[in-house]
Amino acid sequence: MATSTPTRDAYAPPPRGSQQKPVNARRQMWRSRLWRFDDKASPYAYIAPFFLVFAAFGLYPLVYTGWIALHRVEMTGLDQMEWVGWANFDRILHDAEFWTAVTNTFLIGVMSTVPQLLVALGLAHLLNYKLRASTFWRTIILTPYATSVASAALVFALVFRADGGLLNWVLHFVGLGHTNWANGEWTSKIAISVIVIWRWTGYNTLIYLAAMQAVPSDLYEAASLDGASRWQQFRKVTIPSLRPTILFTIVISTIGAMQLFGEPLLLEGGAIGATGGTENQYETLSVYLYNYGWHLGHLGPAAAVAWAMLALLLIIAGINWLFGRFVRKSAV
């Protein structure tokens, strides 16, 4: 527990001269004990608010969800809980719809995250040049992020509508335009990915841009003196300097992809949206959870899905960590 912060033990009270009385000495001792207690205890008190709030709004719901996952609980009678052990997990793990949802979540996650981060990187690189009205461009890029999921999803629902949708109208000029976007196995996933990409690219662009501006300019100078082209500078200077930032955005996007909910729910809306399409073609795990718990009213399996999602996230985090370690090693 070596720490570089000096504690108050290190502070020796300045000598007050020899005229101090023994009574004072006892008080002094009492006081120094208090000092020490203060040193040990007060840091915990300082951080207590966070942990109290976390316990109430983070840990308690997490544990309670786990508790519910082991019971049969119906929306019609939350006070009647019946112990069923692992039955709920058994049920969802043997449910084909659950695995469809896992696959969909993963596919939509990849389809939205990868292009989104690549485009963000490119845009950040462009914005990093000396531009006229750079603040304007940066604001424009971030605007989609400021819209709410619901309004974005509803607008895109109009764009992707099969009958009279904007996209089909545009496509009909080139002889296409009869695509029922929400109905197709892949087209529905593309549609949802587009909404996600549209909303989040600007956010990631700004993060990359901030990181790029922190790269010392002498690196670029040195590189250009060595005759490196723009592209080479980007690859050999910018990207390596951005590695921690890229890792951060990947983690954030992965979590976001795991929790994808509003977009699939609202693409068609209503009862169809709540099951992620008539054949669950775009049902994500969150939608599956929502449907199980809130429409069908079976809270036990819904809670089990929540824990399964946590487990999946931990697995992905583990893979990420291993991958990160591998990348760091190979970089050295």
């Binding site: 009270p13 007060s42 300082y46 719809e97 009279g164 809306g269 209503g270 169809i272 099951t275 008539t278």
Partner: protein, 441 residues
């Protein structure tokens, strides 16, 4: 120096105490503040009361001006309506509020597909209306649905949905079919098989890009609801797998999908509404409340194009309808009971019928002029009062189940898959069984 440090230390401790105290009280506050919200503002010193009616979709009270009228009759009572657009979103919220006992309105609507579940699991949280209303005023089966085993009545019937068929006369004419009500009804006097045959006849000369029906799931619902036993038996056991009504409805739906007689649009969704506006569907299976949905979606531009006739085979059946219940958690249970009694009385039900076409469940209303001679201008002045009142009397008493509404949804989705994706009937049925098992859970 020493002194300043001590002071700093003390104030720091004080700050810690304050912070912890604040956090704790904040937590307590958020924990406790939720159970006392319902009606602090609902009554003031002068004995004025505000009653809230929570419902979904369209109950027609606003359209008929009934809340304003009630305020005129009872100047100390103001009625507020809190409407959720879709019943699917309304019901889970109602269950949560019943469970936590907070946030409930003074009067809550309950749909017929849910009433069994509410009667089975939540009856103790509703006031017994059997002393407020006279259950014999209603069509025989309506109030039975809202009655518990020990005779408690938790809801007063609002509307019912006797079945008819709405058809687009313009499309019928273009396809060379008769347009007169009697002549159309005669075409499918034999039942739903005849209806599909008429569909094939329509398809032969139909204008391009039009379909005979909107969705086979509507036909399925109509067929199933004409059977006394549907998805559950009297003991509450799910029997949908062997129910003859379900089988007949499913086979007809599969046939309609196979012959491409349907546009395959999920009802009430945006594409469905757009199709009505564009007049691409020749018929819509029409429980009484559907007329308002059609005229709303099709718009003024299509006024006079639609007409209403009896359902195929003149089968008497009911699809939909609602109840009004009074949660005991409310502050004005007695006044709310009176309001419910008034709203469901014959005169008021007749007023709602006149304004929106929602058909009364209170028998007394059938003899009132507004109902008896009721016509719908939008539908070529179809004599709906006559059509529905005759039928309402012969509707069979049906066995309801707790998950009727969700089972219906699951089957409708699979019928849509047969229509839109050409999923084979067997595969669609297997999926439906899968989903229904999940619903029943």
């Amino acid at each position: 120096m020493r002194i300043t440090r001590t002071v700093a230390g003390r104030s720091r401790r004080a700050a810690v105490l304050v912070t912890t105290g604040l956090t704790a009280s904040a937590l307590l506050l958020t924990g406790c503040s939720s159970d006392s919200d319902s009606s602090d503002t609902s009554s003031d010193a002068n004995g004025k009361i505000t009653l809230t009616v929570a419902d979904y979709g369209q109950f027609g009270y606003k359209e008929a001006g009934l809340f304003a009228k009630y305020h005129e009759l009872h100047p100390n009572i103001t009625v507020k309506e809190d409407t959720t657009a879709e019943e699917k979103n309304y019901y889970p919220k109602l269950l949560q509020q019943l469970t936590s006992g907070s946030g409930l309105a003074d009067v809550q609507g309950v749909e017929v597909g849910r009433i069994k579940e509410v009667v089975d699991t939540k009856a103790d949280q509703f006031a017994d209306l059997s002393k407020v209303i006279d259950v014999d005023d209603w069509v025989s089966w309506k109030e039975k649905q809202a009655t518990t085993k020990d005779g408690k009545v938790i809801g007063a019937g609002t509307d019912i949905g006797p079945m008819s068929l709405c058809y687009n006369t313009e499309l019928f004419k273009k396809a060379g079919l008769p347009t007169d009500r009697k002549a159309v009804a005669a075409k499918f006097a034999g039942g739903w098989e005849d209806y599909l045959k008429l569909g094939e006849e329509y398809q032969k000369n139909a204008p391009a890009k039009t379909y005979f029906m909107d969705s086979a799931s509507a036909m399925f619902n109509a067929v199933v609801s004409s059977n006394p036993k549907q998805y559950y038996d009297e003991s509450g056991k799910p029997i949908y797998k062997d129910s003859p009504g379900v089988k007949q409805g499913w086979d007809l739906a599969a046939e309609a999908a196979d012959k491409k007689l349907t546009q395959g649009l999920a009802q009430f969704g945006d594409p469905w509404k757009a199709a009505l506006r564009k007049s691409t569907m020749a018929t819509v299976v029409c429980p009484a409340w559907m007329a308002a949905q059609i005229s709303d979606a099709a718009g003024e531009g299509n006024k006079g194009k639609w007409d209403i006739t009896t359902a195929p085979g003149e089968t008497a059946s009911n699809w939909g309808g609602s109840f009004l219940g009074v949660p005991t958690a409310g502050k004005h249970v007695k006044e709310a009971g009176e309001l419910v009694k008034w709203l469901t009385a014959p005169e008021q039900q007749a007023a709602v019928f006149k304004a929106t076409g929602l058909f009364p469940s209170n028998k007394g209303a059938y003899d009132l002029a507004d109902v008896k001679t009721g016509k719908l201008p939008y539908f070529n002045d179809a004599p709906i009062g006559e059509i529905y009142a005759d039928e309402a009397k012969s509707i069979p008493e049906t066995v309801l189940g707790p998950k009727d509404a969700d089972i219906k949804d699951a089957i409708s989705t699979q019928i849509n898959n047969m229509e839109q994706r050409g999923t084979s009937p067997d595969k669609a049925w297997d999926t439906a069984v899968d989903k229904i098992d999940k619903v029943i859970g």
